[in-house]
Symmetry: none
DNA sequence: TCACGGATGTTCTTTTTTGTTCGTATTCTC
DNA sequence: GAGAATACGAACAAAAAAGAACATCCGTGA
């Protein structure tokens, strides 16, 4: 048994069960704990797994738990919304896409389009879309938020401001019952406002969990959108707002 | 049993089980370990298999887009270079990181550092590093190249120009024997030049495949670097250049 | 037959890996 | 919160493997 082979097998075991103890590995491979520790430390050094007291666990699932969990939450609803939204985007269009897990799902749905030009301040959206060769992706510069790969800040806003696009696709953290759009990060709000100002058509996307949900920073009014995409019938007040301001409602 | 026939059989065994030890081969072919080692080293040299301590395994077999292939190519060499390079970067430092598969490997190796401030025009580097909560990641704005997630263009250069960092980490596409650094994309070259101009120390990383490799655009001279990281002893001419200009050479 | 070159074996040194020991740090139990 | 049990990492020793240098074998062609 070579060191390399043992380390491969350790990795397999970790992937399979999520966690292994040093004792398990010692009795399985018939080597000293010190040897196993060295293996685990090397694998951890290479970011192949995560070292814990007494053993080791998988790397990926622990790292971004909060973000990953949110990503999976309501994935089905988000996908339906995304499918609905991309229908009204023609090939060759130019788009803004902002931060949010919903907008990331929309980005994935856009991969079947052709020749899109896209400006985004979402690192993940850029990663997803740059796989498509006929897309032109422009990413805004600025500081990257750790938790979700969003790019925010003054410079980002200035950067976005250079562009005038056909569509602005906005994911939103919360919608107050009076139609106020809310977000948690004032810097992101500034970016979203700039996107709205520079888009010929504003497409708002939010699953039902966002209705009535509170957040700190006021982004704008739902009336500023041209289309609103969601997965359930919104509360009456919001529905009235949409009618009053001729915002087209799409329920997936 | 000819050498050729034995090597073919060794390859078959490796393909079948994914891994063979030298002991196995010794008892199977009834030759000395030294002979087997010579066989394995020759096969590894020809990229037919991957050499490990105590045996050998399959070369790659998974993932095969152009970008992925290049990424895997010489991965081991790149990893060694990366490990060597990150050693001279202290916690809390500020860095530029530019485009290239080598710099992506370096980014992964940096995950064990703390409190780094990093400016990059590489989308993948930003994605990799934003997982670490105590890092400040600043990504340059601009157009994203489809093939490798690099961000290039005039705006990118201006953006980079705002910063003055401790280290500039540059991956390079080719090094001419007279010490000229070469790249394929003139826009990326402008970015790299700006990084060099704004870094207190320039760290150049290139595996041996880059020596003598030709590319179109002249980026600068190897003399502009402070440290040069590679995996094999460079050709004599380049070595002389390094000595003449007091560039520290690190061979992983 | 004999010189030649490639392949293999032998021997030795260096490097890598593993085991051992011991002091320190962490976790658990009461 | 104190003390015991366990886990950890560092340093050193032993074992295994790798690499280098040289000797030997074996087939080929002059």
């Amino acid at each position: 048994m070579t060191q390399r082979r043992r380390q491969d097998l350790i990795l397999e075991k970790v992937q399979a069960s999520g966690f292994v103890t040093i004792d398990e590995l010692v009795s399985h491979f018939q080597v000293t704990p010190q040897t196993i520790r060295r293996d685990l430390n090397q694998l951890a050094q290479a970011n192949k797994l995560r070292r814990h007291h007494g053993g080791a666990g998988v790397e990926s699932s622990t790292e971004n738990t909060a973000y990953q969990a949110r990503k999976i939450m309501d994935l089905e609803a988000k996908e339906k919304i995304a499918q609905q939204l991309v229908k009204i985007i023609p090939d060759g269009a130019s788009l803004f896409i902002n931060i949010g897990t919903t907008t990331e799902t929309i980005a994935r749905a856009l991969l079947n389009h052709n020749n899109l030009r896209i400006v985004t301040n979402n690192l993940h959206v850029a990663s997803i879309l740059c796989a498509k060769e006929d897309f032109t992706i422009i990413v805004a510069g600025g500081e990257v938020r750790n938790r979700d790969g969003g790019i925010v800040g003054e410079a980002t806003r200035d950067f976005i401001n250079q562009f005038q696009m056909d569509f602005g696709i906005i994911g939103i953290s919360g919608i107050h019952s009076d139609g106020t759009l809310l977000d948690f990060d004032y810097r992101e709000v500034r970016v979203a406002q700039t996107i709205i100002a520079n888009s010929r058509q504003v497409l708002l996307a939010a699953d039902h969990s966002k209705f009535g949900r509170n957040a700190m920073v006021r982004l704008g009014k739902i009336a500023q959108a041209d289309h609103f995409f969601t997965d359930q019938v919104p509360p009456a007040e919001i529905r009235q707002q949409l009618i009053d301001h001729q915002v087209e409602l799409h329920i997936a």
